[in-house]
Symmetry: C2
Amino acid sequence: MAKNLRMKAARAALDLSQDELAKKVKVTRQTISAVENGDYNPTINLCIDICRALGKTLDELFWNDEGGNKK
Amino acid sequence: MAKNLRMKAARAALDLSQDELAKKVKVTRQTISAVENGDYNPTINLCIDICRALGKTLDELFWNDEGGNKK
DNA sequence: ATTTTTTGTAAAATATACTTGACATTTTGT
DNA sequence: ACAAAATGTCAAGTATATTTTACAAAAAAT
């Protein structure tokens, strides 16, 4: 799976560590790491919580126009 | 949880049954039903597949500005 | 250079998304 | 009114998202 660089960038822009973001979103640091590294397929509610914490929208962080999205 | 009326509407606009959409997205009819009725918290990849099948984006079908989003 | 913080990753356990099969109710077509 | 198609829902099973604990490597700070 592909890394989520937009998310990593948005987090960096707010100067948050993975751990700080994890706490805001009430999830584990490992989960944040896994999402950023594209190691899996998070729940939409988690994505929404991450977006809110980072001041972005779903399209901005999780949508890509280009085809892709293999199983 | 809240029903996803936007999704229901988008599906209706294409004149697709839950079952037809389910097949396009390679998921069960029950799963589509559950998502529309807000009975749970789908995976983002499923949301993306649904969006693609319905010609909409994540923000259009799954994002709401207003607060909300209880656990 | 050496602490301290941040990040990657892994194995085992738990929670929950999703499936399968089945039946009841609602809606649509005739 | 009747039949057919579409939808709601439930229980039991399987797959996988997320947690917990833990350790090693990379980056930042002093």
